[in-house]
Amino acid sequence: MWRATGAHAAVGGRSGAAGSSTMRPAPSRFSEALGAAAAERDTVKTVNRTLVAVLALLAVLGAACGGEPATETTTATDGPAPTETTGAGATEPMSTEELGLLEGDRLVVGSDIAFAPFESVQDGENVGFDIDLVKEISSRLGLGEPEFVNASFDTIFTQLAAGDFDMIASAITITEERDQTIDFSDPYFLASQALAVPEGSDIEGVGDIEGKQIAVQAGTTGFEYAQENFGDQATIVEFPTSEAAFTALRSGQVDGVFIDIPVVNEQVESGGVELAEEVDTGEEYGFGFQTDDDALTDAVNTALDEIIADGTYEEIFTEYFPNAEVPEQFQAQG
């Protein structure tokens, strides 16, 4: 799906919609995390934190140049109440210390929160499939409310590697390239790409896009697919966010948008847009972790298994995709 390109890094971020409840100045949050990571790594407590902070600040300023907030910290305040599992398959909750989290007893989760229905800000709250799933995982691990940090997809992988987040949850397609630089959880969602066009368009599928302008979100797997498969017939136009791409579509600046199908469906519901063709790319989403963070990766995988096995996954899935069938691998067992 999306975010993509390359290795981990960066993708054309979606600029975070702002409505956050608590905000901390980005530089301090960033340098704090970087500083903490550095200190941990070297065990030398005398690491020159000032220098690190200055460099981090530079980096943040660099990101800010792009006109997108480098990071916004938002604390989720609501969502489904944590459900405790008592099911037979439930494992002992790990001691939270073993997980080595940035903030001790809660997950700091990086996400490009502008990708409905997976993550978006509505009425000042973070909502979406990824958000709810992470909250559920978090409660199964016996942790407090996760903290969602709105990050540009451009920098989200770099920030994860730099120790800014415990994990990233941002409708990220698992790719081999990315897998070399970060670790992925087990897949938690199946998605394909789709071509969206304005209502009444004469484009009926990817066969009709000769000479047209097709919008994609920068850095996504949709962008890579489009570039590879129809880059020579159509003009591929990169946008920083899915929202910007669809605004351009509605304003007639582009002829189509090629992006993950759940996002297309969401836009079709808002009106003015129709699905021209689904392209089965068989992509799977996973959560991302730092490569040396096996304890957390394993813990999240275990929690995910439980959530699938006891049917909680189906509940969350149905809430966001009422018309879709839960894929077999995510259906409750027994």
């Binding site: 993509a4 390109t5 390359g6 290795a7 981990h8 890094a9 960066a10 993708v11 054309g12 600029s15 970087l34 990571a37 550095a38 790594r41 070297d42 690491v47 020159n48 220098l51 690190v52 460099l55 981090a56 530079l58 980096a59 660099g62 990101a63 140049c65 792009g66 006109g67 451009d154 920098t155 992988f157 770099t158 590697a161 730099a162 120790g163 990315r178 630089t181 302008q213 919008a215 920068a218 850095g219 003009t235 591929i236 136009v237 990169e238 946008f239 920083p240 966010t241 910007a244 791409a245 605004t247 351009a248 509605r250 304003s251 007639g252 600046q253 582009v254």
Partner: protein
């Protein structure tokens, strides 16, 4: 620390990104900034003259324009112009995203440059206008021949600063969508960062910005000094020892 160097200041990746940054990015950034500045200077001068006019009817629209375009975040104005105009069916540039972007930045620059010109014009001593009028010039003629030429010299430093600001703002055009070939410096760096999973190409983009902005900043300082101290106050270099003995 090592991590910071690896992720942000990787010399190999910066060097690798530089050719594209210079070839595609630098060119587009300059086209955008120069275009926007030209729009800004032309419209801004008009707006400044309206702003210092004695007629309320002229002053008011200028004031409103300046308040709005200086008060909105650039990224919002860019979105309004680049996506809003076409949505409203106003398509002077067809689908050229770059042209809408240049227009948007030009409209923003207009507001700032109008203020710069207004300050310049008002800094010219009142007596200049009075003297010009007293020898029989009309208000417009006195403005054109006496006041504006003096004012403009004084505004060269702030104008150059404005150009620098526009250069940096040009990175915001990304929200209108970009194709390969029309990316400006920041976007080129961003694409490379995506491919490598490393922030260093964006730092490389920063270096290319400095390539434009540092010489200009020096130029501003030089202009500023010249205006304050007059031309070439530098003394003739003393004859070197060699010349003296030779």
């Amino acid at each position: 620390m090592e991590q910071v160097v690896r992720l942000f200041f990787n010399p190999e990746l910066i060097l690798q990104a530089l050719p594209q940054l210079l070839r595609e990015g630098l060119r587009n950034t300059l086209v955008i900034s120069v275009g926007a500045t030209v729009i800004g200077v032309v419209l801004g001068l008009g707006l400044a003259l309206m702003g210092v006019s004695r007629t309320r009817l002229l002053r008011l629209p200028a004031l409103v324009y300046i308040d709005i375009f200086r008060g909105l975040p650039a990224i919002l104005t860019i979105a309004l112009v680049g996506l809003g105009l076409p949505t409203a069916g106003i398509r002077p540039f067809g689908r050229s995203r770059l042209a809408y972007g240049v227009l948007a930045l030009g409209l923003i620059a207009t507001a700032y440059i109008a203020e710069i010109f207004r300050a310049g014009i008002q800094s010219v001593d009142k007596g200049q206008m009075e003297a010009a009028r007293s020898v029989g010039m009309s208000y417009m003629l006195a403005m054109r021949l006496v006041v504006v030429p003096q004012g403009i010299r004084r505004v060269l430093p702030p104008l150059t600063s404005e150009f620098i600001a526009i250069t940096k703002d040009s990175s915001l055009l990304f929200i209108l969508g970009t194709t390969i070939g029309e990316r400006e410096i920041y976007r080129v760096g961003q694409s490379a960062a995506q491919q490598t999973g490393n922030f260093s190409p964006i730092v490389g983009a920063g270096l290319v910005y400095l390539l434009i902005t540092i010489p200009l900043t020096r130029l501003v300082n030089l202009l500023d000094r010249r205006l304050r101290e007059g031309k070439d106050v530098v003394a003739e270099p003393l004859p070197s020892e060699a010349e003296m003995t030779g």
